[in-house]
């Protein structure tokens, strides 16, 4: 079987967001593999280590620098990688067209993608790709087990969680709690340099954005920052309660 893990390169969550004009710029910022996607790479490796006879392919669609996250996936243990190079910003619905075509060309059985993108805060790529492929989907998985072509496990829902059974092919979204991603070891990093990283251009997929971004603004909400010293707990507590009573209007 073949597992495709879709990964994105995003701004490190610890970095501040900066603007250039009316859009976010990532120039000179630290970029990392989207952690939610990284759980998918790890899970693919673990399914194989638990007995699945799987080839694991990592896919990234983005600017030239995105090959760094593919190198990370290869060093973790993915077998080969595909990089569709583009500077275009594609919304999830448009992007899903590319991912679905690649999943078909590569005869994929199981597709992983992060539950939410750390940059565009979107959940839409995986379900949109599943729809294009006419596959079912599991979102927010926290436990997966594969026996032949039957995938069972647990995933989060609106108010709790569910145990499920589904037959491959399927799209699964991953998140924290599913596993603990491994660090690539030096020998594996060396080995990964010989692995195939295929470059493609976006043209052949015939996509264009379905939504246009007019502007981006950094949110500024002024906070009062009235921080009290709590060495005298009673005094600080009374002072805080007075402030909240007088200034919020909702605390009696």
């Amino acid at each position: 079987m073949r597992i495709l893990t879709f990964i994105r390169q995003v701004l490190d969550a610890e970095e501040s967001v900066r603007l250039s004009g009316s859009s976010v710029t990532l120039d000179n910022s630290k970029l990392v593999i989207d952690t939610m996607d990284e759980y998918g790479v790890e899970e693919a490796l673990r399914l194989r280590e638990r007995g699945a006879d799987a080839e694991i392919i990592a896919l990234a669609i983005g600017p030239p620098g995105a090959q760094d996250v593919l190198r990370t996936a290869l060093a973790m243990g993915a077998d080969r990688a595909i990089h569709v190079e583009t500077d275009a910003r594609l919304d999830a619905i448009a992007l899903s067209k590319v991912v679905a075509q690649i999943a078909q060309q590569e005869q994929i059985d199981l597709l992983f993608s992060g539950g939410q993108q750390a940059d565009w805060d979107s959940h839409a790529l995986a379900p949109a790709t599943a729809e294009r492929l006419h596959w079912p989907q599991i979102t927010w998985a926290t436990l997966l087990e594969l026996k032949g072509t039957i995938l069972t496990g647990k995933h989060d829902t609106d108010e709790g969680s569910e145990n499920f059974t589904v037959e491959l092919p399927v799209v699964v979204t991953t998140q924290q709690g599913l596993n603990e991603p491994r660090y690539p070891t030096l020998p594996n990093i060396m080995k990964s340099k010989k692995k195939e990283l295929r470059k493609e251009t976006l043209d052949q997929y015939g996509v264009s954005p379905t939504v246009s971004v007019l502007r981006e603004e950094i949110q500024v909400k002024a906070r009062l920052n009235r921080i009290l010293d709590g060495k005298d707990a009673q005094a600080a507590a009374s002072q805080l309660v007075d402030l909240l009573r007088n200034e919020t209007g909702v605390i009696a």
């Binding site: 969550a13 976010v24 729809e131 939504v211 009290l228 010293d229 709590g230 402030l243």
Partner: protein, 316 residues
Amino acid sequence: MILLVVEHADGKVSKSSREMIAAARALRREGPITALVLGSAVAAIAAEVAFSVDQVLVADMPELAQYDAELWAAAVAQIASEGEASVVLIAGSRSGREYSPRVAVKLDSPLLEDVVSLQSKGDSLIAERYTYLARVTETVEAKAPIVIASIKPGAFTSATPRANAAEQFDVDLNLPPRRLHVTGKITEHSARISLEEAEIVVSGGRGVGSAEGFTRLVEALADQLGAAVGATRAIVDAGWRPYSEQVGQTGKTVQPKVYIAIGISGAVQHLSGMNKSKVTVAINRDAEAPIFKIADYGIVGDAAQIVPAIIEALRR
């Protein structure tokens, strides 16, 4: 028409549905505001929502007793195309955000995802949404015969009902077979007010020390204030609290009038779920904790000492 998919749970219309109705009214577009009720034994839901919209379409079928992304997407896409909807509104809940992209693909439509504002401009729709872990607001535009939008819970003020009920119509659906089989369900219920509806939220993180510490500090303060209870991912993962209380990137987004963070250091993933709160209060031992940067009021000190003192001061 403007089609909105009514979200409901435990036999009640969810707050998110009333917010979607407000969003639909604010569009001021031609054509009736049409509510679609999907489920089994949903007559009461349909009757309630009829007081807030222009017409109600009801698919009351045993097959719809359990939510399923593929079934919901098929139903909504069918009704939207039969009714020639120009806008389809879906709640920005976890389930709404999971099936709305499938609706968009089925209808070959753009998706405005998890929006906090929505307005018509000529024949396009302009929306604002949060990105970069809710640190950036982006303004996006979609122009198409049908546009799908998921509405972020809490972003719109609930619509008020009218005096007269709109007409209800039963609809027939062509549903696909269910492929995802649910073999068990863990639903988490709390006796307290829900996170989304509360005016005050009291949340706890690792700094409360233990599950017992959470009960003694966070729950006690919440009960004193009539507040909802929230938790960080770290302590949900540690099993101290149920997932339904999780606030942050992978949990709920809240924007209460007052958010009180106890023993929470303030990772961006947590902040993204609460940084729209009107007033934020932080109690933490570490004066350098990032939570203080977004706090209106705070106390640097030991939560185990300070929280009981706050409860005592509130009782006075």
